[in-house]
């Protein structure tokens, strides 16, 4: 898979990136160097699962269970989302 993420990697939110409740626009944003990324509810659900310890596979299994969605679909969507953040240096993997 070139655009997704391997289940074994551990996503890590690096220093200088944080979730923030934007009380004016009433939505979650990811604050990062020179960027504010507006999160939809799915993006927010993915980001809140990232704790720097659990693997991507564990995270997508948890999300699939929690939202009753097919695991393959969750892994593909979340992988694409997180890969996009990695390309912008807003997320790292261990």
């Amino acid at each position: 898979m070139t655009d997704g993420l391997s289940p074994d990697v551990i996503p890590v939110i690096p220093r200088g990136v944080r979730l923030h409740w934007d009380h004016v626009r009433e939505k979650w944003v990811l604050l990062a160097p020179e960027r504010a990324v507006a999160l939809d509810p799915i993006g927010h659900a993915i980001m809140t699962e990232i704790d720097g310890a659990r693997s991507f596979g564990t995270i997508t299994t948890a999300l699939a269970d929690k939202y009753g969605a097919p695991h393959e679909q969750v892994a593909a969507d979340a992988g694409e989302f997180l890969r996009g953040l990695m390309n912008r240096r807003i997320l790292e993997v261990a």
Partner: protein
């Protein structure tokens, strides 16, 4: 300030289609040990005795967060010239702002960086005037500056601050661009901003000395595109292309009065850092009005919102929502009319002449640099 008042301004703004700003540039001081000939500060610098004090800035940061600002850029001049910098960073973080320090590095010691770390500073943007001491110290007009900057970069790396290297490039140093990109990697920077000098402020006096040739501008675009591809996921490259050689103008601040605001050292609130060159505009000051009132009601912010102000060919142009007719300050500087089409645009009657002048500027090989001066005490 009363929170309900902010909500009233916001409701009124929303009804008029005015979004809340995302970013604020706080120009803490115009003082700076460097004297870069392309400095974006106004030619008339604010004197030290008129600078806002600590409590003024703390109030402004709180008002900015209430207004909807997410990102705060602490800039100058050199923001490290403010003795209260650590306290200001702490206050900005306490207000909930993402806090970025835009610095040359001069004035930052290891101890001070550790204090900024403790205060919660989120990110540092370090400027680069050249990739070796000869170039950097000559362009910055400050002997020994490059060596000190490299020491500061090492401390930033040790502490682990997220870093953006900000390489300002022009005819005299564009050949160093590949090395600047390598240096960003060596410093563990996540991002590099490659900004070809834009001609505002002090740079207007240096068009002869700094204007890149058209070939250099094209080569810079090629180097950036190649590095973006090669370093995907490792280094993010932001790029501000050369201006006069282009066929379409840049988006004015992402839309005048829609995205960001500047607070000058003396408290004047500006839609962009060059706005004071438009003499017909009147600016409000945070000393006597709230930031919300200034943003939503201030005449300078409303001057170029929407498109009622536009002339032809902008008014009927299908690109008007893309670039908003270009830069108002550039229209003022080059066409003598802030409502005119930015002469960089191929549709401007002044475009052909500007392109010719750009080529002429770029071939003045012996032009001397005019350095930025210091503000009066």
């Amino acid at each position: 300030m009363d929170g309900s008042e902010v909500r009233d301004w916001r409701a009124e703004g929303k009804a008029n289609g005015i979004p809340a700003p995302i970013a604020m540039l706080a120009e803490l001081t115009h003082r700076c040990p460097l004297s870069c000939p392309y400095c974006s500060n106004p030619v008339e610098l604010a004197q030290k005795s008129l600078e806002l004090d600590t409590s003024d800035w703390v109030r402004v940061f709180q008002q900015a967060a209430e207004l909807g600002v997410l990102q705060l850029h602490l800039s100058g001049g050199e923001p490290a010239a403010r003795r209260d910098l650590v306290d200001l960073v702490k206050a900005a973080r306490d207000a909930g702002l993402y806090t970025n320090l835009i610095t040359s590095g001069i004035g930052l010691t290891e101890r001070r960086l550790q204090e900024l770390d403790m205060a919660g500073l989120d990110h540092i943007q370090l400027s680069l005037q050249g990739t070796d001491a000869d170039m950097a110290d000559r362009i910055g007009g400050y002997k020994g500056g490059f060596q000190r900057k490299m020491q500061v970069a090492a401390w930033i790396k040790d502490i682990g601050f997220p870093l953006t290297l900000n390489a300002v490039v022009h005819r005299q140093n564009l050949h160093q661009l590949p090395r600047a990109i390598e240096m960003a990697l060596e410093m563990n920077a996540r991002r590099i901003e490659v900004a070809i000098v834009q001609f505002h402020g002090w740079a207007m006096s240096n068009r002869d000395a700094l204007m890149p040739t058209k070939e250099q501008a094209q080569e810079a675009s090629r180097v950036v595109a190649e590095a973006r591809d090669r370093l995907k996921g490792q280094l993010v490259l932001d790029y501000v292309p050369a201006d006069y050689h282009a066929d379409y103008p840049k988006r004015c601040m992402g839309g005048w009065g829609t995205t960001g605001l500047n607070v000058a050292p003396d408290g004047e609130v500006l839609p962009c850092h060059a706005a004071q060159t438009i003499k017909s505009l009147k600016f409000d000051n945070v000393r006597n009005k709230s930031l919300s009132e200034i943003w939503y009601r201030g005449s300078a912010f409303n001057a170029y919102r929407g498109d009622d102000w536009m002339q032809e060919p902008c008014r009927s142009c299908d690109r008007k929502k893309l670039d908003f007719g270009g830069c108002r300050c550039q229209a003022m500087a080059l066409a003598g009319d802030p409502n005119a089409t930015d002469p960089v645009c191929v549709k401007s009657p002044l475009h052909a002449e500007l392109q010719k002048r750009a080529v002429a500027f770029s071939h003045h090989d012996n032009a001397e640099l005019t350095y930025r001066q210091q503000p009066p005490a």
